[in-house]
């Protein structure tokens, strides 16, 4: 047996090279994600910055409103220049009303948060789904049953011959007889199948029948293996 070390080393180099495109892909993906995140962050930052400035403007207007109210009271009290002050107060109120779209932008922020929560929920759902994997185990007997089922669908003689051989080896001669018969029905020229069929019959106490079957088969095909088995069966007491 040869030394595997050089081959292992060669494989390590191959494996590393094979992974290059993957690493490049991951790196590119990372760069792309970072770029998108940065753009998104700046976008959000700009929006927040604008919001803050607008809010500041709004606050200033409020102050102006209060100031004007006071002025109004003072004007009322003083009962002088009333019209001019009322005009100023109306202008201020209109200004505040004109800035209402800014409030709708501010209101959008919690909606974004909800979206994030949903994504997290979806992730946790996916995770919980992954945990529900059923692990099935099968023993050899179940495997034979699978092969039997497969045979009835496919009529594949490799399956039936496999079953015949294994059942014979496990001393289940009735089953071995059945499965070798199935094989013979599909292909009547397989030596091994006829031999198992005949030997199963011998084990089941039907020696004469086994001899007759093998004699016919040997006449038909001239099989040496079958002939040897026939002689063996005949010589057994």
């Amino acid at each position: 047996m040869y030394d595997l070390k050089p081959l292992e080393e060669e494989w390590k180099i191959y494996h590393k090279k094979k992974k290059y495109p993957l690493y490049m892909g991951i790196f590119s993906g990372f760069l792309l994600t970072t770029a998108i995140s940065t753009l998104f962050y700046f976008d959000m930052f700009n929006k927040n910055y604008l919001n803050k400035n607008i809010l500041k403007v709004e606050t200033n207007h409020s102050i102006a409103l209060n100031y004007n109210d006071k002025t109004k009271i003072e004007i009322d009290k003083n009962t002088s220049n009333q019209h001019a002050n009322n005009t100023e107060l109306n202008t201020t109120i209109k200004d505040v009303e004109n800035h209402n779209p800014v409030e709708s932008i501010v209101e959008n922020i919690p909606i974004l948060d909800e979206g994030r929560e949903n994504t997290n929920n979806e992730k946790s759902m996916k995770y919980s789904k992954k945990l529900n994997i059923n692990i099935l185990e099968s023993s050899s007997l179940e495997a034979y049953k699978d092969v039997e089922k497969r045979f009835f669908k496919s009529r594949d003689i490799d399956d039936s011959l496999f079953l015949a051989k294994n059942y014979y080896r496990n001393a289940k001669y009735k089953k071995a007889e059945f499965w070798s018969l199935q094989t013979n029905k599909i292909n009547s020229t397989i030596d091994e199948s006829w031999i198992i069929f005949a030997e199963s019959k011998v084990k089941l106490g039907q020696k004469n029948e086994a001899i007759n079957i093998l004699t016919d088969y040997v006449k038909r095909t001239g099989s040496e293996k079958a002939e040897n088995t026939l002689l063996k069966i005949k010589s057994e007491k």
Binding site: L4, L7, E10, W11, D159, K165
Partner: protein
């Protein structure tokens, strides 16, 4: 203790053993087509395909199965010269050995074949026929014209050999059977059935679908290449099983081992 992989490895030794023949849908079709063609009154049948597509085993199988029904002869190794070929042919036709220090007179052989027409129908399976020279092929063609001898010619598929098939024998070869590489499904069945035939149930189960896909990409569905690859895979598995068991997983064949085998056989390179 004997490793289970040793037995698995031996399953894939590349040999033309009819007992190892695996029946697949594609091979059954080719067999039936060839059997049907033999029954037709054809002078020559051409069987061609790339190396490792199962031409030799198909010829072997047909020779074995029809030996009690027809006068069929399988020439496995090509004769190195015309003299040797006609020695073999003389023995087949006359059922006698050629006396020593004598040579076959070709014209007399053709006449002898003509005299056999209607009395005997001799089928000769010529494997690896691409190794016969143009002169010898011309003589084979003349013998087939006697209609007493039917030739089934098996060729490798290359551009030159296509030329032989198409130009040289165009008017004589009436039936052409082409064997192709296996599909993924055929190759999977081939590997599993081969292992099941030797009762290596656990080993067969350890080869998963993705492993087969990988092997298929390396071998392109060629049976001979697949045998070589699996032999190497199990050889490596056997080594690990005996020397470094921690490096092997009995439930499935690691992709690493498949790639190592492909590296060793030159399917992939560092």
């Amino acid at each position: 203790m004997k490793s289970r992989y040793e037995a698995a490895k031996n399953v894939f030794i590349d040999s033309i053993d009819i007992d190892d023949y695996i029946e697949l849908e594609s091979s059954v079709n080719a067999y039936k087509q060839l059997e049907h063609s033999i029954d037709k009154p054809l002078k020559m049948i051409l069987l061609f395909g790339k190396p490792g597509t199962g031409k030799s085993i198909l010829l072997n199988r047909i020779a074995k199965n029809l030996k009690y029904q027809k006068e069929i002869h399988y020439f496995d190794t090509p004769a190195t010269n015309t003299k040797e070929f006609f020695h073999k042919l003389f023995k087949v036709l006359t059922k006698k050995d050629l006396p020593s220090h004598t040579e076959v007179n070709f014209s007399a052989l053709v006449n002898f074949c003509k005299s056999l027409r209607g009395k005997r129908e001799i089928i000769i399976l010529l494997d690896e026929a691409q190794m016969y020279g143009p002169d010898m092929m011309e003589k084979i063609r003349l013998l087939s014209d006697t209609r007493a001898v039917k030739f089934i010619v098996s060729l490798h598929k290359t551009e030159n050999e296509d030329l032989i098939a198409k130009e040289h024998f165009q008017s004589r070869i009436w039936e052409v059977i082409e064997l192709k590489n296996a599909s993924l499904n055929d190759l999977t069945q081939y590997v599993h059935k081969k292992l099941l035939k030797r009762n290596l149930f656990e080993v067969a189960n350890s080869i998963q679908e993705k492993d087969m896909k990988l092997m298929y990409t390396f071998t392109n569905g060629n049976y001979r290449e697949c045998n070589k690859l699996l032999f190497t895979i199990f050889e490596i598995c056997e080594f690990y099983d005996k020397n470094e068991p921690s490096k092997i997983n009995y439930d499935h064949i690691p992709q690493r081992i498949i790639e190592m085998s492909a590296l060793k056989l030159g399917y992939i390179h560092v």
